[in-house]
């Protein structure tokens, strides 16, 4: 099996009711890459997936797979296979017939089908389950049947639509490793849709962060986590502290921002000019108790034990500040009610243009 590259060339998708699910998008997914599209529900990521698999034709632009324009090719004519969120296993067929269905559609004889199905079931460690019905398998096993069924047609591109979302936490974490291993073994291009940043960060070679039909940033997990390029990317991937204000001064690659808590210095990748509205983002694990290059005062209001880590929440004149520290016995206790200095290094913080933010858990719960 060999993966192929997928190119979206100014693809935009507008539904008949006038709703634009995907704004004009350019995207190149390399052959053999594990590529994730990460975004909140309703951001347009599933629409992109359906356009690549052929269930939707883009309203404008082209979808190319391996350099070939896919316009006019239906889902049964594309070198892609889609793994659905609910898996869509055929309930009345035994597992091996499920796996061999794509081969049956290609007119391959029963004996060859059975052999190929066996080979794939062995690959996903279900070699002895071929004669069972899907309903007789566990959630994780069904998951692997869906993968085997999709791989049976030797797709150049495997499209996965949040296939792990129905599984328990432990199983989900285990399946991440298995999916990654299968992708490495087969060399097929994986395009993986998820709203779970943990899945995207642990499995992917590269990630696209998407919001409101727009791909905000494409990069490796490290790039996106440590060097977010938009306010949405910074606030959606991982936890972060945010300070809003106005740029006061700029120097080579850095800027100073005037916030209600004081003037802070941080990286300025967008080369914002003095006077522009901006947001400063800094991760909770980059915060230092006792202050750093940038400093302000806050007092501890909550202390959540995670085990190896402590999540501390401070109040700085009405702004909540999250600080993650290792649980080494030196962390402050709640009775230390007096304000203490907090801070962060300029190199660990980033100033970005003011922009749309990801919804907080509180906002989602209030919906």
């Amino acid at each position: 099996m060999r993966g192929k590259d997928v190119t979206l060339d100014s693809v935009s998708i507008t539904y008949p009711n006038g709703f634009t699910a995907v704004e004009p998008t350019d995207l190149v997914v390399e052959a053999g890459e594990f590529f994730s599209i990460l975004g909140p529900s309703g951001c347009g990521k599933t629409t992109i997936l359906r356009a690549v698999s052929g269930f939707i034709e883009p309203s404008a632009g082209r979808v190319l797979i391996g350099g070939e324009d896919m316009a006019g090719s239906g889902p049964n004519a594309r070198p892609t296979a889609l793994i659905f969120q609910n898996l869509a296993l055929f309930p009345l067929m035994p597992v091996w017939e499920n796996v061999a269905f794509g081969l049956e559609a290609r007119g391959i004889g029963k004996k060859a089908r059975r052999e190929k199905a066996q080979e794939l079931l062995d690959l996903v460690a279900l070699g002895d389950q071929g004669d069972k019905l899907p309903s007789e398998l566990s959630g994780g096993q069904r998951q692997r049947v869906a993968i085997a069924r999709a791989l049976a047609v030797e797709p150049a591109v495997l499209l996965l639509d949040e296939p792990l979302s129905a599984l328990d936490l432990k199983l989900r974490q285990h399946m991440r490793a298995e999916l990654r291993a299968i992708q490495k073994k087969t060399g097929v291009t994986f395009i993986y849709i998820t709203h779970d940043q943990g899945e995207a960060l642990t499995m992917s070679d590269r990630i696209a962060v998407m919001n409101n039909g727009v791909i905000e940033q494409v990069g490796t997990g490290d790039e996106i986590y440590s060097h977010p390029r938009t306010a949405f990317a910074a606030s959606f991937v991982g936890e972060t502290n945010r300070f809003e204000g106005r740029i006061a001064d700029v120097e080579a690659g850095m800027a100073q921002i005037e916030t209600p808590l004081g003037r802070f210095r941080a990286r300025n990748p967008d080369q914002l000019e003095p006077g522009s509205e901006a947001m400063l983002f800094v991760r909770p694990e980059a915060m230092r108790i006792g202050g750093d290059e940038n400093r302000f005062e806050a007092h501890l209001v909550r202390r959540d034990l995670e085990g190896a880590f402590l999540n501390l929440f401070f109040d700085a004149r009405g702004t909540e500040i999250a600080v993650h520290v290792t649980n080494d016995g030196h962390a402050p206790e709640l009775h230390d009610a007096a304000p203490m200095p907090l801070g962060f290094a300029a190199a660990q913080a980033v100033i970005l243009p003011r922009g749309a933010l990801a919804r907080t858990g509180q906002e989602l719960a209030a919906q």
Binding site: S53, F84, N86, P91, G102
Partner: protein, 291 residues
Amino acid sequence: MTDLSHTPPRRRLRLLTADGLLSAYTWAFLVFMFLPLLLMILSSFNDTSPPSVTEWQGFTTKWYTFFWMPEETLRADPVLRSLDRDRFVSCFGNSLYVAAMVVPLSLLLGLAGAVLLTRWRSRANSALWWVLLSPMLAPGIVLGLSALVFWSRLGVDAGLFTIVMAQTTFIAGYPMLILMARLQRQPVELEEAALDLGATPFRVFRRLTLPYLAPALASAAVIALMASMENYNTTMFAKGGACTFATEIGAMARNPNGHPPVINAVGTVIIALTVAGALLHTFLSRREQGR
């Protein structure tokens, strides 16, 4: 029943009255439903004609054996002698023939309608729904008459063919409703997944949709069969010179001297078959679940 041991007396009285009314109503309902059937079954074993349960003339099975008793015995009986057994049997044969045409036709038409209405999303859908279902709602007489008029204009004489056509127009609606209910429960993703794996729409239909519909097709066939066998009003108008089981029983029941108990015997057999069918179905589905 309500447990009244901890209820104050006044409230207890009210609950007792409510309970009493409810059981009285239930019993009245059951009597209303089943007493006529019970009387029919009893009178089918009473040696008197017209059928009666009040004047018991002795137990007999001759109203049943009428259908296969030797010619001499038949001639000897004053009541049975006047009945045309051969005509009755041939009318029953007509019914089987008509049902054998109507059932597959209705299944085909109903299946096509169900697939169309559940898989083809369009604004015309709701209009189409009413068009396809309207024969079920139209009075049977109207359907029979219009089939008669339509086919005679085309030069086709009224007979078994027009009965088949007239019955199919409204019976096809039953399979359609049953199949639609099942199709709506099948996730669209299954068909999409099959398409995505390279299957043609025809293969998707044959390998996924049809097996999925099989149980619904079976029950639709049974219902269509019963609807066809028992149909009277539409058939009456479309039949021309032909007869069916239902129209023949209707003709015998209109006898001014009271109908022969043979009809009661036939009714009893139908009830026995229905109950047996229901029991078999329950037994089979229990076993299916137990697996």
